[in-house]
Symmetry: C2
């Protein structure tokens, strides 16, 4: 007795889904970016138990449209400017369709040669586009949090090889700026380094790590018999997209034998444009780098790229091969499961391949340039307007603004813009004051979208002041 | 200037992709399960660099069919019996299409109310189906490796609350059976417990953990001033699908204050059938449980379900809330990012919801019963045949066999079956001897498929003996 939907029924329902999805993408601007729901609304609309007997796909799709879509925050909306704006481009969605149908787990070369080799090939294409001169070992993880956790684990493995067998030792210390992403600290907590052993290095007035202070902190820790083992340089912080002085940090890392991890999760793709390369100066010396194509490279979540020049160390940190995962090809191939916590690995390289081929480097570089241009223009408009303070320089496509006056005004502006449905912006704190962030990063965003967002912001300002 | 494909072009290409995929699912049995490629074959077929200018979607799809598909190991093939067989059912694929288009990151309630609430609702439906009596906190991670890593981290947090700030301490000891999945050891290495602090408890003749030996080992460790903090009970080990005596282990865990983690990644869904419940006896006492719907529940990778009765402890282990992730709703909602390493979270509950509704409990239970019945029948056929040894009891849908005689014969049989293209089986070692595993778990598998696999096995045996 066949239990799954027949291929013909699948064909019928999948064609319907495609039309639904194409309509959604066409009409995306008609949806409020942030849904108008309260906590518990959706839960109250759904049954308390699952069905004993199956239901029709039509009924499920109808409930999806009736109950689920109205409670969705539309990350794929061109005026989603919160966090780091991202987008699922059309070729990325097409790739995800095939990824789901193939249902591959690329843990071993043998478990899918295509997954392993396409990952190697596309990551080398991407490396070339980014201008990283040296061959690197590349691997795709799900998220930057996981990429960074692996970086810290590899750093620990290099600094204290006994940690694999004996456990973490309490004298290891890592460094990142006060604005480094929370995933760095979370990674350190997770792998047993301890939050107190994560030093937050102060920043200069433009929110870049002070390399001179880093050096002092490292020297103090060495004098106190601590072991500095890892330093994170952010190229494009989450709060302001500031770029730490990676070349200087690399120098200090080398002197003190620290692993240098570069967090370019958001801004990394900008390195495909020559004019942004100076901001990346020094990253070619990194021991590891993380870049998320699922942020600013039109790729559906999840796809985080990790490069390292020391695959042997990463492998030593994590490799464990049980009897049931031994294959005849092991000596001749990369088995990606050896380089990470996760055994299950989706066929994520397929979407990178679709996207790099469909757009080509030139169009993706043009997208990045345009996003940055629009962000700088927003900064200019805010200055001209006179009612806003700009929180930080705008090296990439993120603008941080606040209404002059008390924080409450800015919180109220954020709330008003988000409730308008026109755009979604998110808060951050700089020097103790609240700002709102407008991040541009969706491949579908147009200048008209940026204008609409700006109008929503200025209308809110007018209403509030 | 629009940069992404237009919605109408997307519609056209997505309809083509649907037809390609429906044909693929219809013709899936015509593909060799394991592709006939050598390491490097695909790499040699692909350009060394990515394109400067974009290419047509038709060209990309054509290359996909010409180069990628022939190098794919077909995990969605009904005669994929290696590792744990799984399947991307049709409703699961339909859900993945929408997941890609929505491109949600469900890190916060605010970042998508639908993702958070549907995760809570579907995981409670699933809990009820599994017969877990008590309300549990449920969360979806990507893989069982990550679920288990979080279990060990929560156990560490409970046993040694200072580890969050000070780092792991070297006296913590965890326990699992000799056949526990490698992810347990990897998790312990990853979070800084150290491989030497993972005790492998010997098994009885049917590969179940010896609870009496566990007790002795714990007592010895306590006497040696170590701190037993975590024990893993496997319900359905990877090597043989054996079930550790969870109720007895739970008793010992309670006496010594250890966190009990139940690894039911593969076999968990069998608990929706009443007759399998005795094998799960005691799991209701667990501090955490992992079950992977992406294994035996017709769900495309990735979707790993994690239940815990102590969300407060899990949260304490991992919560870190930077300024840019504060929302007005924080006090009223669950923000799933607080319960894990990963900030990025796909809208995975959507596929569980589609699948539970489309099939209903009864049909999924019938699938599980049938798979187990077929596995037992394979055992009977092997006995009748006389040329095979059966490696272990068959509580679920996994059969472990070997050809009588030296290991080389069994390796040769595995190679021959896999090269035939008919089926994919994988090796394991039991009591120092090599066996091959036939796992049944694809919703599309029929009795005819099982017959075809068995014919491939017996033909290989005849050729080799």
């Amino acid at each position: 007795m066949p239990r799954d939907m027949s291929p013909d029924e699948f064909r019928e329902h999948a064609h319907k889904a495609v039309d639904q999805i194409a309509d959604y993408l066409r009409d995306i601007r008609q949806y409020p970016v942030v849904p108008k729901v309260e906590p518990g609304d959706l839960t109250a609309d759904l049954p308390a138990s699952g069905p004993e007997h199956g239901e029709s796909m039509d009924a499920i799709f109808a409930d999806f449209e009736r109950h689920i879509l109205p409670a969705v925050t539309h990350w794929n909306h061109p005026r989603f400017h919160a966090y780091f704006a991202n987008s699922a481009s059309a070729p990325g969605i097409l790739a995800e369709m095939w990824m789901a149908a193939l249902n591959i787990n690329g843990m071993l070369w043998k478990s899918s040669p295509a997954a392993t080799e396409l990952e190697q090939v596309t990551l080398d294409w991407f490396r070339q586009w980014l201008g990283l001169p040296e061959k690197q070992f590349g691997i795709i993880y799900d998220t930057a949090s996981i990429s960074t956790m692996h970086a810290i684990a590899a750093a620990r493995e290099r600094a204290d090889p006994s940690s694999r067998t004996e456990g973490s030792t309490p004298n290891l210390v890592m460094y990142c700026s006060e604005h480094a992403h929370s995933s760095n600290e979370k990674g350190a907590i997770g792998i047993g380094i301890g939050q107190n052993n994560v030093r937050k290095v102060p920043m200069d007035l433009e929110f870049r790590m002070r390399a001179d202070v880093l050096r002092n902190m490292v020297e103090q820790d060495v004098a106190a018999r601590k072991k500095p083992f890892c330093v994170v340089s952010a190229i494009g912080t989450t709060a302001t997209s500031a770029c730490d002085p990676t070349a200087e940090i690399a120098q200090i890392a080398q002197e003190y034998g620290m692993w240098l991890h570069v967090d370019a999760a958001y801004a990394g793709p900008a390195a495909i444009c020559d004019e942004f390369r100076p901001l990346f100066d020094g990253w070619e010396l990194a021991d590891s780098i993380v870049i998320n194509p699922h942020k600013w490279f039109a790729t559906p979540v999840d796809l985080s790229v990790f490069y390292t020049r020391h695959p042997d160390i990463l492998r030593r940190a994590y490799s464990l091969i049980p009897d049931y995962l031994v294959t005849a090809e092991d000596s001749k191939v990369v088995n990606y499961m050896d380089y990470g916590v996760q055994l299950g690995r989706r066929f994520r390289s397929l979407k990178l391949w679709f996207i790099m081929r469909y757009f080509g480097r030139e169009a993706l570089a043009a997208m990045i340039r345009e996003h940055c241009q629009w962000a700088r223009e927003l900064g200019d408009r805010a200055l001209l307007d006179g009612r806003f303070d700009i929180g930080a320089p705008i090296p990439f496509s993120l603008v941080c603004l606040r209404l002059k006056g008390p924080d409450e005004k800015t919180f109220a502006l954020i709330d008003r813009v988000n409730k308008s449905g026109t755009a979604f912006v998110s808060p951050t704190a700089l020097n103790g004051k609240t700002y709102f962030r407008i991040a541009i990063g969706d491949i579908k965003t147009t200048r008209d979208d940026v204008d609409a967002t700006w109008n929503a912001v200025t209308e809110a300002a007018t209403a509030l002041l």
